[in-house]
């Protein structure tokens, strides 16, 4: 029963080989979907290209629904999987700062790695920026250490918070995503007529 490595079914020696292989698949999917171009990515914010929303929401549906099936068939012990801890105040602020970084830089970290691979200098500088930013954060850390650790709710899920079963959440999200696909398709059609300086 999964997860395989934590349960010792695959030994830790394979860990880094698996990391590279999963990374290759990740990078391939990001690049092939068009995320090696910042102009494709930010299209989601201006309405001329919703590829980010389509890929992201579809992936979330598959993951959420998939986890329910893996649990149902007894393939995966959900109590053993990592749940990102919630520190709601710093994570909210962090997300806002990343939002600014996203619209100004046009990439997020993973997509910038794939864009460097195909020769984008802007992506290279974005990654250098990441490095500088994390360096600044580390040096300045004592100034905001208390804030960084504030709002700690532990490793909670939406189910823990609301009492709603995860399978209902997955179903609800699926409907939200389908509605979003349809609405954004209509918006995109309208806005693309007005945009000439961009190849689709």
């Amino acid at each position: 029963m999964g997860p395989l490595i934590p349960n010792g079914i695959i030994t830790g020696d394979w860990n880094f080989v698996i990391a590279i292989l999963l990374g290759v698949a990740f990078g391939f999917i990001l690049e092939a979907s068009g995320f090696s171009s910042s102009r494709n990515i930010v299209g989601v914010f201006y309405g001329y290209n919703f590829v980010v929303l389509r890929v992201f929401f579809t992936a979330l549906i598959v993951t959420m629904v998939g986890l329910m099936y893996f649990d149902y068939f007894g393939w995966l012990n959900l109590s053993q999987i990592f749940i990102l801890p919630t520190f709601w105040q710093p994570m909210l602020v962090g997300g806002i700062v990343m939002g600014f970084g996203f619209i100004m830089g046009g990439f997020c970290p993973g997509t910038s790695f794939t864009a460097i691979a195909i020769g984008k200098i802007d992506a290279l500088l974005f990654t250098v920026g990441l490095y500088v930013g994390i360096g600044i954060f580390s040096l300045a850390f004592p100034l905001f250490a208390d804030f960084y650790n504030s709002g700690n709710l532990g490793n909670i899920t939406v189910t823990d918070l609301t009492g709603i079963d995860a399978s209902w959440l997955a179903l609800a999200f699926t409907f939200i995503a389908l509605a979003a696909f349809w609405i954004t398709m209509l918006i995109e059609k309208k806005i693309r007529k007005k945009i000439t300086d961009y190849k689709f």
Partner: protein
């Protein structure tokens, strides 16, 4: 006109296919490792490694980076560093197959100069780097892998990133369209 457009159009896979593949990959990753995907963690390891080499004492004493510094192995020896190397090579593989690998170049809107694009790319990277530390991960580790596993923090980060993007998009419109 249509044929010219088609020839010049970049060959991307269908976004819903991309999403299904990405979701299946994330499921597989969780099934094997018990955790999701990530990207910013590898840059954090690089910062820790630099600190360890340049100023070993300060690096160990640093309240944030210090916990990644050990005597027995380099901070580069982590799962996310290997995975991120994979991301690069996976991107390269796709770029080769779909013929997008080219000379070093700057992609920018015709309304701004290449230098302006580079300046904003750097500032964007710095902000994303800082934000990802407060956010306990970036779009991959927090927003995607976190939300996919129903983690409240992941959903907060996802809404904060995209909500902010929409809220301030008009300020940076000239950079893109």
């Amino acid at each position: 006109m249509d044929t010219i457009k088609k020839e010049n159009a970049p060959h991307y896979i269908n976004p819903y296919l991309g999403g299904v593949l990405l979701g299946m990959l994330l499921l597989l990753t969780i099934y094997i490792t018990g955790r999701g995907l990530g990207a910013s963690g590898a840059v954090k390891s690089t910062v820790a490694t630099t600190a360890k080499i340049v100023t070993p004492q300060d690096a160990k004493a640093n309240a944030y980076i210090g916990r990644y510094i050990t005597d027995d192995h380099s901070p580069m020896y982590t799962w996310l560093v290997f995975e991120s190397l994979g991301i690069f090579f996976g991107g390269l593989l796709s770029g080769v197959i779909f013929r997008r690998v080219g000379k070093p170049r700057i992609e920018h809107s015709s309304k701004i100069s290449g230098n302006k694009r580079l300046i904003f790319a750097t500032i964007g990277g710095i902000l994303f780097g800082i934000g990802s530390q407060f956010g306990r991960g970036c779009t991959s580790g927090a927003a995607l892998s976190g939300s996919g596993t129903f983690a409240v923090g992941g959903i907060i980060v996802m809404f904060a990133i995209f909500g902010t993007g929409y809220a301030v998009a008009w300020l940076f419109k000239k950079l893109w369209i």
